[in-house]
């Protein structure tokens, strides 16, 4: 039964872009995967370690800017910028994480949003990084290494490979000593400390891993779309998307972010079509409303709701 579920999930993910000969769905599929990558990366720190980052866009932006900056400066493959984005993200994660992860969670949340905003303002005014206009990548590919493809499908499988890697790492962490310690420190920090769990350094490792994969998501975004500006790299909506998608599906659940992305991204595409360009305000109101409702009634997200309903249904049957 469980095995059948895995096979079905794998089949759906692998065959999805091949089952439609329609660019709209192919595009949608890759967007869902990309959102699932950054939300799963957020899940490492926000879900498993219980420290709520509301500024993960800072890593996404770093990951998105570096490949195009490398291309702009030296005309090299954007691929070479991937590790640079990760390096910058790790530095930022350490600068935020070391002082705040020793304190109560509010400091961490406030620091993430303040640093994201700080860097957004600096990037928006820095001509070296294209200021408000941003950066553009290679228009026509010189070889496969420029990662410019006409179809969405190569991106789809690239994103899928990264997502599977990230989920495999998450799964391994969940089952390791490190994972148990992380969950223990989320459940009761003092109790965990008394059991000699090095809470703040473990949380910092989780944050650094989260930063790494969020940066990777930014790099993948930018090779697919070919350009980046301060709003789509460092904007508050980028951070909100990660939090909302993970919390909707289920923060701290392995497949929570993927479920959240599969629901929210198609919905988002539809509402954007429906409201048009002037409707961004309405989209934010809707997001805010969903976030408030999740927080108030279902902080465990859809997965936990499903578990509860199943338990209830199961007890009735018995």
């Amino acid at each position: 039964m469980r095995r059948a579920g895995w096979v079905a999930l794998a089949a759906v993910l692998l065959l999805f872009p091949l089952s439609f000969n329609n660019p709209y769905y192919e595009q949608l599929g890759s967007l869902v995967l990309l959102a699932a990558i950054s939300a799963s990366a957020w899940n490492l720190i926000g879900g498993f370690a219980g420290q709520v980052s509301v500024g993960n866009a800072v890593f996404f932006g770093a990951g998105a800017y570096m490949p195009l900056l490398f291309y702009k400066l030296w005309q090299v493959s954007p691929l070479l910028g991937f590790p640079a984005g990760i390096a910058v993200s790790l530095v930022i994660a350490v600068v935020i994480g070391i002082p705040t992860l020793r304190l109560s969670g509010h400091y961490f949340s406030m620091a993430t949003i303040a640093v994201a905003e700080l860097i957004r303002i600096v990037v928006s005014n820095w001509d070296f990084l294209g200021a408000a206009i941003g950066l553009t990548g290679p228009a026509t590919p010189r070889g496969w290494w420029d990662l410019v493809f006409r179809s969405s499908n190569p991106y789809y499988y690239m994103f899928l490979a990264v997502l599977v890697t990230l989920l495999a790492i998450t799964y391994a962490i969940q089952r390791s000593r490190f994972g148990y310690d992380l969950r223990a420190s989320r459940g009761g920090e003092r109790a965990a400390r008394s059991l000699v769990v090095p809470v703040s350094s473990y949380t910092l490792y989780a944050f650094m891993l989260s930063a790494t994969f969020t940066s990777l998501a930014g790099s993948l975004y930018v090779v697919k779309f070919g350009f980046i500006d301060p709003g789509s790299g460092f904007g508050i909506l980028v951070s909100i998307n990660m939090v909302l998608i993970a919390a909707l599906g289920g923060a701290g659940r392995l497949f929570g972010p993927l479920l959240g992305a599969a629901i929210l991204i198609p919905l988002q595409t539809e509402t954007n079509n429906l409201f048009g360009g002037g409707g961004t305000g309405l989209t934010y109101i809707l997001y805010g409303g969903i976030i408030v409702l999740i927080a108030r009634f279902e902080p465990g997200g859809l997965f936990e709701m499903w578990d509860r309903l199943r338990a209830k249904w199961g007890s009735h049957a018995a």
Binding site: G46, G47, G50, Q51, V52, V54, V95, I96, I98, P99, T100, R102, L103, S104, G105, H106, Y107, S109, M110, A111, I113, A114, V115, E117, L118, I121, V122, N125, I236, I240, V243, A247, A251, G281, L282, Y284, I285, Y287, G288, G289, I290, I291, V292, L293, I294, A295, R296, P299
Partner: protein
Amino acid sequence: MILLQVIVAGLLIGAVYALFSSGLTLVWGMMNVINFAHGEFVMLGMYVAFWAFTLAHFGVASFSAAAAVVLFMLGVLVYLALIRHVMRGPMLAQILSTFGLLLVLRYAAFWAFGANFVSLPDGILGPSLNVGGILLSAPKLVAGVVALAVTIGMHLLLTRTMLGSRILAVAEDRNAAMLMGIRPDRMQAIAWGLSGASAGIAGALIATFFPISATVGESLGLIAFVVVTFGGFGSVPGAMIAGLIIGLIESLSAYYVGPVYQDVFVYALFVLVLWIRPRGLMGKA
């Protein structure tokens, strides 16, 4: 002389920062909840002042009072409908609840009031004054002085009155307060009301000299985070000193480096404070 003018202007705006931040720190110290929508409360205070002036021809004193009353009620409402239910829940729920509220308030205002900036008429508080060669705008002078007075008033309310003692008793030990016949729920609702009112008055004061827009809460909210962290967990006097310092830093960096970067220096100071003195100026260790 210009430098002196920059310093005075910075301290005056800093007094307003101190006022709305003291509301944020009150709630933080009392129940360990951070209101991410606090900047949006200030923004709504600005709009209440604007509409009270435009529609009902309220004067400065009465529209500030109106903003205080409306935001007091909003604070109580937010506590009763939302915070009360999440404050003992997981951290994620606490932070998401007010973060979602931020989005709803900011973009509902954007949607309802439009993207255009509006402002109160220029001469609403009289012309600029020349005090010994320093040119002071009358609205900023009034705002700074009133804000300082209200912040001190809030501190006195908390430390010298029965109501304040009850609020602090709940902050200190909820169960012990309950045994003394204090209703924690009521005190916490009042604290949220006071927090909202401080944002409301501050918003009304800012509206007399600053353009009003739906997104103004973004930087104001972040400034409030910096002020309360710098001032120290739950400390109103700390927030007051920190507010003045932040106003000064902002004013000086706008003058020397450029107005675009004024917030950058403030946020950088935030990171610096976290590294060097995370408990802030007046916080307990």
